[in-house]
Symmetry: C2
Subunit: 189 residues, 2 copies
């Protein structure tokens, strides 16, 4: 199923962080979840837990970036609202197929670490920036002016993140449908 023990640890860390939060995830749990040798953690991550969580967060961000880019390849006639529906739809699939236990790793880590002087903060900001840039680039490819594209990207990601949180609490994907439907005219207008 997976790659090297190191990659598995990063992946497992991302999965655990987005369900239990960064502080609620212990390195021992990550090692066990990844079926990785316990002694390898300190070998691959001499920077300790911060390094592991930082890489997990960036992994999640790059995963989201890839999802965003995938839309252009699947859509016959790409539109901003279509991209947003694409992003929201993938979270609806996640929730309906795997339940509401897992959220967004960036949000999870931000909630725990943004207020503390953690070193992971920088990687969280970097991850969000990559995600926003990817969305903005896709919008520009749909002939949206660059300035407006950046603003819409911020709004799309904000609304999506909030809807994810709301959906998890309500255990209902309705918020995701709501934001997608409501924002559609603004995005395309």
């Amino acid at each position: 199923m997976e790659r090297t023990p190191r990659e598995r640890m990063v992946y497992s860390c991302a999965q655990l962080v987005r369900t239990r939060g960064a502080t609620g995830t212990s390195v021992r749990d990550v090692v066990e979840h990844a079926h990785a040798p316990r002694g390898s953690f300190q070998h691959y991550f001499p920077g300790g837990k911060d390094q592991l969580v930082g890489e997990a967060v960036l992994w999640g961000a790059d995963f989201a970036v890839e999802r965003v880019r995938a839309y252009r390849r699947t859509a016959r006639r790409p539109t901003p609202s279509g991209l947003f529906r694409h992003m929201a739809g993938q979270w609806k699939d996640e929730f309906t197929q795997r339940g509401f236990e897992r959220g967004c790793p960036i949000m999870a880590a931000t909630a725990d670490l943004a207020g503390t002087g953690s070193k992971v903060r920088a990687q969280l900001a970097e991850g969000l920036r990559r995600w926003e840039r990817a969305v903005a680039e896709e919008l520009v490819a749909m002939d949206v002016p660059a300035r407006r594209a950046r603003r819409l990207a911020t709004v799309m990601i904000s609304a999506l993140e909030g809807a994810i949180m709301s959906a998890r609490l309500h255990e209902d994907v309705a918020p995701l449908t709501a934001v997608a439907a409501t924002l559609a005219p603004v995005l395309d207008g």
Copy 2:
């Protein structure tokens, strides 16, 4: 400012949770932050940490509800976009005046506890529901149809929560301004 030790503990818990997350907040820290006698915690909160965090989360939700209701009293000509700008504006004030360390307690606790079988989950859902209902009620008072009001309330809170997260990571209130400006035509239309 100065209430009973019990109230101070709930308030302090909310403040700590929204900066370090629920798992990252220890009861000892709460007791110290509240300048409360350490032995009083188990006396006022026989339900343990879950009870304390649960009450803190509901406290935060009711605080948000009151903020929402306050708009009608201050605005001369209330509009949906005005209400949303009001909500976003208070968070801009929070960030510019007190820094980006503190976020929304509901989001913070959700990130940590929504994926675990915690008893606090129910109170998180209840808190969000109160907040959404308050916003919807204000919209109805502005002659927005009930069904549309509920949908817009979900969208407003989702966008706001996501913008809060984005603002904290970027250490910039721009996302809050962006969502407020972008959503305005949809809300009033």
